[in-house]
């Protein structure tokens, strides 16, 4: 997905160098636009292609759950502490 074919890249390079020399780019010409952007940088390409889900190993799931429990537990402590601090303020 990341790498367009070499021929397209060579073509893009020659158009790109033309575009670089121009005072203003002719953005009405799609080939100029596509030469300036990477193939997967175009909005339509991003909408078509997504990175699929990765396999989460047991160790990764344990890590993510552990961190989630850490956050929830610490948030409870912070909330209790902040509420007490506010009530203690005269």
């Amino acid at each position: 997905m990341k790498h367009s074919d070499a021929r397209a890249e060579r073509g893009a390079e020659s158009i790109e160098s033309g575009a670089q020399r121009a005072a203003t780019p002719d953005l009405k010409d799609p080939s100029v636009v596509l030469s300036l952007l990477e193939a997967d940088q175009v909005v339509a390409a991003k909408q078509r292609m997504h990175f699929g889900p990765r396999r989460l190993s047991l160790s990764i799931r344990v890590l993510l759950w552990g961190l989630r429990i850490y956050v929830v537990a610490m948030l409870v402590i912070v909330l209790i502490s902040a509420i007490r601090a506010i009530h203690a303020t005269p």
């Binding site: 953005l27 997967d40 940088q41 175009v42 909005v43 850490y70 956050v71 610490m74 402590i77």
Partner: protein
């Protein structure tokens, strides 16, 4: 592939191509005049890194630094704050690579690679943290302008108007330059610090020896340590910088410029953060209790020592910090929502094409602003917990970031190396230990 896409180009693609053309042209010029061309390339590519760090030097962060200077003076916290920015640099550099290589925002990648279940957790942390932080930005805006006698409703209105004005440009580049122009005023803390006549040899000694160490109530010290870390390393920064790198159209060959941009942001923000500490050191020397101070009160309390001009600079600095952060944080929320909901999420899109994106951006700012104006709203409560929540939410965010940046299917040759992983894991350990230390101290404090 390229031919298929030719008929599907959007306004966003054209604007991004125009930005890329300027970068390509500057690179072309670099072949003829190396120095001028290189400066031109850097000028075009800086932005997300400077904005994320100066945006994070926000109202609650500057107040944390001010409280640090007033409570402990020159000592341990000066090098500690610099260290937190180094930690921030390690983390943010990874978002530059992720954005430039994948052309996808952080929220989108988490949903794609980890699925909806974990994605919703990450979004939950982001939404909660962003909204609370946005509220504190408007508290800062209100308090900063309050020093000049501006009524709260007018001050908050100015804040919302600034967010609105920034998004009406319909162009990422213009938005970025306007926001960077505003962010430059974060430097107002430097003259305020100079007017406080800091003892520069004590500053130098503190930088080398990390002393004198803070002493007093362990709970208070840990709270300030956590607040200072939360003033530099927070989840919204990851989401914002990666999305901004994507919106700017950066590509893998721009990574070194992106690193420079991030380094420049970290250095500037560290300098301005230390300046905020130094500006409030006179309060420490005169034994003034600043533990319950808000922005305007800091400025008023400093007036006898740094003069009216210095106090005004301080108050303006807090106002500016609130404005820039309100713009950056509401944009971070809008990017994340747009990525998750798969709707248009670019500042290069016109309002009519991406109204859900702009509605989220402006809606979050308006909701936070309205909350600040509600009588008896729990604002003190929010200010107390906002930076602490940022630190606590950071380890899971960092875990997702590390897993993504080590994912060869996503990053290809740009995966983390050994030292990058070692530094990032060290940052994660520091964050977890700081959070646990605070938790234990809180439990002891309560019992």
């Amino acid at each position: 592939m390229a031919r298929d896409l030719a008929g599907l180009l959007t306004h966003e693609d054209l604007d991004r191509a125009r930005d890329r053309w300027r970068v390509s042209r500057a690179r072309w010029a670099e072949r003829r005049s190396k120095m001028r061309g290189r400066l031109s390339v850097l000028w075009l590519l800086v932005g997300p890194g400077v904005l994320v760090f100066l945006g994070e030097n926000d109202a609650p962060s500057m107040l944390s630094y001010s409280a640090t200077g007033a409570r402990f003076g020159i000592g341990f916290f000066i090098p500690f704050v610099v260290l937190t920015f180094a930690m921030g640099l390690v983390v943010q550099e990874m978002t530059v690579r992720l954005g430039a290589v994948t052309h996808r925002g952080h929220a989108e990648l988490i949903f794609d690679r980890f699925g909806k279940f974990w994605g919703l957790f990450a979004m939950g942390d982001l939404v909660l943290g962003n909204f609370l932080t946005l509220v504190t930005e408007f508290i800062g805006i209100r308090a900063g302008l309050g020093f000049f006698g501006v009524r709260p409703v007018v001050a908050v209105g100015i804040g919302v108007a600034a967010v609105f004005a920034a998004i009406t440009t319909g162009r990422y580049w213009t938005w970025e330059r306007i926001t960077m122009g505003l962010a430059v005023f974060n430097a107002l803390f430097v003259p305020a610090a100079i007017l406080a006549h800091p003892n520069w040899s004590a500053v130098g000694r503190a930088m080398v020896t990390w002393s004198p160490l803070p002493h007093g109530n362990l709970f208070d010290i840990l709270l300030l340590i956590l607040a200072d870390i939360g003033a530099t390393v927070t989840p919204w920064m990851l989401f914002f910088q990666q999305s901004a790198v994507v919106d700017k159209g950066m590509q893998p060959r721009d990574i070194s410029a992106g690193r420079f941009d991030t380094l420049m942001g970290a250095v500037l923000a560290a300098a301005f953060g230390v300046a905020a500490i130094l500006a409030t050191v006179p309060l420490f020397h005169h034994g003034i209790d600043a533990s319950q101070f808000e922005a305007a009160q800091f400025a008023e309390a400093l007036e006898p020592w740094i003069g009216h001009a210095g106090a005004a600079l301080f108050a303006l600095g807090i106002f500016e910090a609130g404005i820039v952060a309100a713009i950056a944080i509401s944009t971070s929320s809008a990017y994340a929502f747009g990525e998750v909901l798969q709707t248009g999420h670019s500042l290069n899109r016109p309002l009519r094409e991406a109204w859900p994106f702009y509605s989220t951006l402006l809606g979050s700012a308006c909701a936070a602003a309205a909350l600040v104006l509600i009588p008896n709203a729990p604002l003190v409560f929010i200010v107390l917990i906002v930076n602490v929540i940022a630190v606590l939410a950071m380890p899971p965010a960092l875990a997702f970031l590390l897993l993504l940046v080590n994912d060869r299917e996503v990053m290809g040759e740009y995966v983390n190396g050994f030292w990058e992983n070692a530094a990032a894991i060290a940052v994660a350990i520091v964050l977890v230990l700081a959070g646990l230390g605070f938790g234990i101290a809180t439990v002891i404090h309560m019992s």
